[in-house]
């Protein structure tokens, strides 16, 4: 596993009239390792842009994104230059990692609808050059984690929206990424389905010790899922606050007073922000 350090990230978007619009205004933070880091902020503030930059889909105009490992037993991986990989077990505290393996879960499932559920995972395996012998084991492990093992031969369009998103989650996890990136993965689901999926995602990530970064504009989602919550201002985005969740992942309960108090505290920070900006 690895985690992400974002250092003074700056990003402009070109406007229609040719001028530049500042989207990210010097964003810096460290994400947690083995936990979920939530990027919380108003819609259109640039959180998704930052996630895409981390995924390598976009380039930053200034600043750095570094991937680091902190656990001493961890092997430093560099997929493009395998020679630079350190020996397993070598002590490399805080060593930067280039090109870590990233998994991605999108806002809509983005499945290949003409491929069966299991072949959608195989598509990712092929791309990530995962050896063929391990496909079967990975398929069974991750499809049963999301509860869809019995649907492995089904085509996605015969599944409900929540189940399709589960397939997307399984695909992101099954390549066993060092960092899993999630871009508002529950925002298009109905309230009940979203709630169940949030709970399952927190459980699965906690069990796997999966380092995860999750973009959301939903305060409750951030409070429930995030081990660390990074609050973005509206555009141009800077970091308002980085909050660590006082509650342990498996002990968060939507009805518990401690949880409600924490959620309220986050909500106040965000609301204050909205007031200031006059959005």
């Amino acid at each position: 596993m690895a985690y992400v350090c974002v250092d003074r990230a700056v990003k402009f978007f070109p406007r229609e009239d040719g001028s530049q619009m500042l989207v990210l205004d010097g964003v810096s933070f460290d994400a947690t390792e083995h936990g979920i880091t939530c990027l919380l902020g108003p819609s259109g503030c640039g959180k998704s842009t930052l996630l895409n930059a981390i995924a390598g889909l976009e380039k930053l105009d200034q600043g750095e994104i570094e991937f680091r490992v902190s656990s001493p037993e961890c092997r430093v991986m560099d997929r493009k230059n395998p020679k630079e990989n350190s020996e397993l077990g070598a002590r490399n505290p805080e060593l930067p990692v280039r090109n870590p393996k990233l998994g991605y879960v999108f806002q809509d499932p983005r499945l290949l609808n003409w491929k069966r559920v299991e072949d959608n995972l195989v598509f990712a395996f092929k791309g990530m050059k995962i050896p063929r012998e391990s496909w079967q084991g990975l398929l069974e492990k991750y499809l049963s984690l999301v509860g869809l093992l019995s649907f492995r031969k089904q085509y996605p369009l015969y599944l409900s929206g929540g189940m399709r998103q589960r397939v997307g989650l399984a695909r992101g996890l099954a390549i066993e990424p060092e960092i899993l990136l999630m871009d508002e993965p529950f925002s298009k689901l109905d309230q009940l389905t979203a709630r169940q999926l949030r709970q399952d995602t927190v459980d699965i990530c906690a069990r796997l010790g999966q380092t995860t970064m999750l973009v959301t504009h939903d305060v409750e989602e951030a409070a429930y899922m995030g081990d660390r919550i990074v609050i973005f201002s509206s555009r141009p985005a800077h970091i308002v606050e980085v909050v660590d969740n006082p509650l342990e992942a498996t002990k968060r309960d939507l009805d518990d007073l401690a949880f409600i108090r924490f959620k309220k505290r986050l909500l106040q920070t965000v609301l204050k922000l909205v007031d200031q900006e006059g959005v």
């Binding site: 995924a55 889909l57 990233l102 991605y104 999108f106 809509d108 983005r110 290949l112 609808n113 003409w114 491929k115 069966r116 598509f123 990712a124 092929k126 791309g127 990530m128 050059k129 049963s144 984690l145 999301v146 509860g147 869809l148 019995s150 649907f151 085509y155 996605p156 369009l157 015969y158 599944l159 409900s160 929540g162 189940m163 589960r166 695909r171 390549i175 309230q191 389905t193 709630r195 169940q196 999926l197 709970q199 399952d200 459980d203 699965i204 939903d218 305060v219 409750e220 989602e221 498996t250 309960d253 939507l254 009805d255 409600i260």
Partner: protein, 300 residues
Amino acid sequence: MSSLDSITPAEPARQDHAIPVPTGAGSDLLSTQSSFRRARANAKKETLKNLALRVASVIALVFIWWLLSLFFPPSLVPKPWDTFAEVGVIVTSGNFFTEMGATLRRVLVGFGLAMIVSIPLGIFMGTLRSLESFFEPPVILGLTMPGLIWAVLAIMFFGLNETSAYAAVAVTIAPMLAISIWQGTKSIDKDLIDMSNVFHAGAWSKVVDVILPQLISHILAAIRYGLGLAWKVVVVVEMFGFSNGVGYQVVRGFNVFSMKAVLAWTITFLVVMIVIEFGLIGWLERSVTRWRPRVQAWRR
């Protein structure tokens, strides 16, 4: 604030941390499975109904033909059953399969050549802007060119041989195939390309797993139009002086002014076409679109 809705006292506490399979999918799964079964029973009834409607439509056409034959002499509109008897004679006489085979071969070779050129051309035009600008004028011009003129040009250039038939068919239908695939490529879902980039899919995998499946319905439509157009051109080419093929037989019927022979050869031709359309292409379509649930909600 929608996120506040879910905090109600009735919300049960989470109890199942130790259970490996999330429970949320459960209710989802049951309802989906029972709806599969219902859908399958409905599908059988639907197929029977559709078949009956198609047969009824053919019977109605024959009936109208019979009505017309009451008002015209048999040399102009022969009776349907006389014509069907003539079809029987043609099919059993022995030369039917060689004649039809010759025509079919010309259609399929010409069609195959056109596909080989236009699928890559269409994909390149849909993806690369510069190629789109370069190839747009010839493709649009080719679309407006009458098949008859291509037939004349091909015969003048290649002479009266198989090559001219293949060339005329291929050149006539290639622009139409290219346009269909070009437009299909432009409507490809860019989000899926992003997805395949995130998972580092190779170029081959991107074409085969992501791009081509999205073009299937456009390619199938192109095959349907293309085959229809190919038949029309090949008959014209054969009429020009070929010594075999369905077109030649129709011209022979015309020369002795036998309406019955002209119609009978046309009917054999239509039957073969319908077998190809409903049998071969229908089967192809069903087997490549099995992943897509039939749209029924808005069709009555």
